[in-house]
Amino acid sequence: MAKIYSDCNPKKIQLNPKKETVDFLLNYSKALRVNCYKKMKFEALLN
């Protein structure tokens, strides 16, 4: 049987953002309100 000399592929390191960062973004999204007045738009962070 043929010998396999090649190394098995090392596990690829998965790069992911921290859970805190994702949570922050989701909370930021929930807190951000855009109020429209005539043609103007106002951002408001409602925490």
């Binding site: 992911n16 960062t21 973004l25 989701l26 999204s29 855009v34």
Partner: protein, 194 residues
């Protein structure tokens, strides 16, 4: 049960209609790609985290302000924002270079202060004073030539004119002065290095 993949465009639409969970799905779906893309440019986890966060803040703002034009290219659009923010980061850093000593490489190993520090300055003074004391031990004629040559920076021609001896004699006295200095230094184990 078969999982149905909701397309990005639908999720964006749902999000714009007030479904906050749609954003969570979008972030979780693309976070690895976007995060890796940023990391491949900046090679720093903390900066990657910051740029990733800024990217999605911009995404959220643009979506909520109704400025996003859906063309079925949500991921390329987010990638473009991340790319621009990475460029902003490098521009900011080139204006204000920041050196931290967190990594293996320390910038202070390359930069050096040419001025002597307090310790080296004391040693230098000590060495100079030791040399002066040893010179005082030399015979008068040798001492005279050595002082004129080393401290007054005179040429041997000038020394010979001033002392009234030939240049060869002045050279010979200098030679003996140095030999005698070395002898004294060796005999007394005097260390004259900085």
């Amino acid at each position: 049960m078969k999982k149905i993949l909701i397309q990005d465009a639908v999720l964006v639409k749902n999000y714009l209609n007030g479904d906050e969970s749609a954003l969570s799905v979008l972030i979780n779906r693309h976070k690895q790609k976007i995060y890796s893309f940023i990391y491949s440019k900046v090679f720093d986890r903390d900066i990657t985290e910051d740029v990733f966060q800024d990217t999605f803040i911009k995404v959220i703002k643009t979506l909520k302000l109704g400025k996003y034009n859906e063309e079925g290219k949500f991921l390329p659009w987010v990638m473009r924002i991340a790319h621009n923010l990475v460029i902003d980061h490098f521009r900011r850093n080139s204006r204000m270079p920041k050196f931290d000593n967190a990594g293996e490489f320390s910038i202070f190993s390359v930069l050096s202060d040419s001025a002597l520090n307090a310790e080296k300055s004391i040693i230098k003074n000590q060495v100079e004073s030791d040399v002066r004391r040893i010179i005082q031990e030399l015979p008068e004629d040798q001492k005279q030539v050595l002082v004129m040559r080393m401290y007054q920076d005179m040429s041997f021609k000038e020394i010979s004119e001033r002392t009234g001896v030939s240049i060869n004699t002045a050279l010979g006295r200098m030679r003996y002065a140095l030999i005698n200095l070395r002898k004294v230094i060796e005999q007394h184990n005097i260390v004259l290095t900085n």
